[in-house]
Amino acid sequence: MMNPVLRREAVTTMRNWKTYGALIIFLAITSVGAAFYVYVSMYQNYFYSNDPASMIWLYVVLAGMQMGLVMLATPAIAAGSISGERERQTLDLLLVTKMTPLSIVLGKMMSSLIYVLLLVVATVPVFGVAFYFGSISLGSILLMLLFILFMSVALSAVSVFFSCIFKKTVISIVLMYLIIGVLCVGTLILLAFYSLFMSRSGQGDISLLGGVLILLPNPGAAFFSMMDMQMGSGMMRSLLSMVPYSDGDTVRWMAEHLWMAHMVLCLVISAVFVLLSARMIDPIREKRRVKR
C-alpha cells in the first residue's frame, strides 16, 4: 500500500499553483543560464560560432546551477513538512492513526523529494544542449543527477528534523540555509585557518585526513571533485600532490573520490535524521525514555 502521506501530498502539491510557479522559475533560471553561457562563449569566439572546447564547460555551469537551485529549494519544500502539520493543527489527527511516526516522516520526506525530483527532471532537457554541443556522456549526466538527489535526500532529512523541533517553518528554513552556508563556505574558511595554523606553528603542511574531514561535508567541494573527475581536468590530483602522502590509502582514496565519500555521508546523515525525526514526533516517546 502506498504511503498515505505521500499519496495525499502528491495530490495537494499538484493542485497548488505554487508548484507550477516554482517549476517555471526553475526552468527559466536554468534555460536563461544556459542561453547566456552559449551567447558569451560564442561572442568570445573569433568566428562567432560554438567552440566545443568551451561548450563542454556548459555542462559544468548547468550542473552547478542545478545543484545550487536544489540546495535552495529542498529546505524551502521540506522544512515545513511537520511544522506545517502543526501550524494547520492536523498533526494530532495523523498521530492517532495506525501510521507509525517513522512512516509519517518517510512519507513527508518522500513527498519533498518527489517535488525536488520533478524540478530536476523538468530541467533535464536543458542538459540536452550540453549533451549535443559539449559531447558529455549520458552516464555522466545521470551520475551528476544521482549526486544531486543524494544531497537533496540528506538536506530534506535534516530539514524534516528541524521541522519536528521548531514550531515555525520559517525558523527551520533560515536555519537550514545557515547550515548550507556553513557547509559550503564555512568549511573552506576552516580549512584556510587550519592551513595557516599549521604553517605558523611550524608543523608544515596540513594532514590529508584533516583536510578530508573538513571538506567531506562540503557539497560544493564534493561537486567540484565530481566535475573534475567527469571533465578529466586533473585539478583534484594536482591539489592533492601538494599534500604529503602520509595518512594511508583509504584517506587518499577518499580525497580523490570526495564526491563518492560525500554521497555515503549523505546516506548516513539521512538515516540518522529520519530516525531522530520519527523519535521527535512519537507522542509516547517521553514514556519510553522514562522506561530506559
Binding site: T90, L93, T97, K98
Partner: protein, 308 residues
C-alpha cells in the same frame, strides 16, 4: 468498557491529572465536565495516545491501552477540540487519506466513505474541498474521520464548541445515532445543560481529580439539598401562596404573575400532602412539578464555584 485507574500526569512540578479514577459503561454517552485547566483535555489526550501518562493505567476490554498503543489506535476514535484540514483536498480524498492511514484496503474504502458521509449528513458535499466547508460541516467531517476504522470508543473533545445552535442540534442527533449503533462516546463540553440532555452519565473533574460521577439525576439528588417546586394554578394564586407559607418545609416562595416557585426540604409524601391541601382548598392547579435542577449549579457547587 473503559476503566481509568489512578491516572497521573505531571508537567514538572505541576500536576494536571491527579490520580483520576473513572469508569465508563459500554454503550453510554459519558459527559466529561470541568472548569478550564481541570485536566479534561489532558486526560482525553492520554486516552487517545497523544500524551504519555506519568503513572496509572487505562483499561479497555482487559487490555492496558497505555502499554499497547497499537490496540489503542484501533479501538479508539479521537476528535480534538481544535483541528485543521488540508488545502486542495476534496471530502472523499480527505476520508480516503485517513482510511489509508488506518490501513483500510482500497477496495473497501468507497462504500465505507459513502456510509460515513451519510451518517454525518455530508453526502451532498463529497466532491467539495474540505477547506471550503463551514465549521459545523468540518466538525461533522472530523467525526466521520474518527469513525473510519470502526472504533468501539469515541473521544470527542468539545465537539460543540464554536458551533451555531442549528449545528449543535445536528451534532446532538448524530451522537444519538452513534449511541444506537452501539458506540461508547466520551464527550467533553462547556455547554453543561446540553451535556445533561444528551449524556447517560456525567463525570465532573476538578483540579485533575474526579469530583462526582453518575447519571445526571443521581448527582442532582446527591448534591442538591433543596428541591425547587413549580406551581401554576388557573386562579387563586394568593390562596395557594398562603397555604404554602404555613408549611415549615417550604421556603423562599417567589410569586410571579401567573405562577410561583418555592424551595422544599422534605419527603415526597410531605410534598404530596401539600398538593392535596391546596386542591382541597379549592385552588384549580394545572401544573405542580419539581423543577429539573441545573447541572451548571451542581457543577459550580462541586468545583467550588469556579466559572466555566
Amino acid at each position: 468498557m473503559l476503566e481509568i485507574k489512578d491516572l497521573v500526569k505531571k508537567y514538572g512540578s505541576f500536576t494536571a491529572v491527579d490520580g483520576l479514577c473513572l469508569h465508563v459503561s459500554e454503550g453510554s454517552i459519558f459527559g466529561f465536565v470541568g472548569p478550564n485547566g481541570a485536566g479534561k483535555t489532558t486526560t482525553m489526550r492520554i486516552m487517545a495516545g497523544l500524551l504519555p501518562a506519568t503513572s496509572g493505567s487505562i483499561w479497555m476490554e482487559d487490555v492496558d491501552l497505555t502499554k499497547n498503543p497499537g490496540q489503542l489506535r484501533s479501538k479508539i476514535g479521537y476528535m480534538p477540540d481544535f483541528f485543521g484540514v488540508y488545502d486542495n483536498l476534496k471530502v472523499t480524498e480527505y476520508m480516503d487519506f485517513y482510511a489509508g492511514a488506518y490501513e483500510i484496503p482500497y477496495k473497501d474504502r468507497p462504500a465505507l466513505i459513502d456510509d460515513l458521509l451519510e451518517i454525518v449528513d455530508l453526502s451532498h458535499k463529497k466532491d467539495a474541498y474540505v477547506d471550503a466547508l463551514s465549521r459545523g460541516m468540518k466538525q461533522r467531517l472530523c467525526l466521520a474521520r474518527s469513525l473510519i476504522h470502526d472504533p468501539k470508543l469515541l473521544i470527542l473533545d468539545e465537539p460543540a464548541s464554536g458551533l451555531d445552535p442549528r449545528a449543535r442540534v445536528e451534532m446532538k442527533e448524530i451522537l444519538k445515532q452513534l449511541q444506537q449503533m452501539g458506540k461508547t462516546v466520551i464527550i467533553s463540553s462547556h455547554i453543561l445543560p446540553e451535556l445533561a440532555e444528551m449524556c447517560t452519565e456525567v463525570g465532573i473533574i476538578d483540579r485533575g481529580r474526579l469530583a462526582a460521577q453518575g447519571t445526571v439525576q443521581e448527582i442532582m439528588k446527591r448534591l442538591v439539598q433543596k428541591r425547587t417546586i413549580y406551581l401554576r394554578p388557573v386562579e387563586q394564586l394568593e390562596k395557594a401562596a398562603a397555604i404554602l407559607r404555613e408549611q415549615p418545609s417550604v421556603q423562599d416562595i417567589v410569586e410571579n404573575a401567573l405562577d410561583l416557585e418555592f424551595h422544599f426540604d422534605g419527603s415526597d409524601q410531605m410534598l404530596a400532602g401539600i398538593l392535596r391541601q391546596i386542591i382541597d382548598a379549592g385552588v384549580p392547579v394545572v401544573t405542580f412539578k419539581e423543577k429539573e435542577g441545573n447541572l451548571e449549579e451542581v457543577f459550580m457547587q462541586v468545583t467550588g464555584g469556579e466559572s466555566v
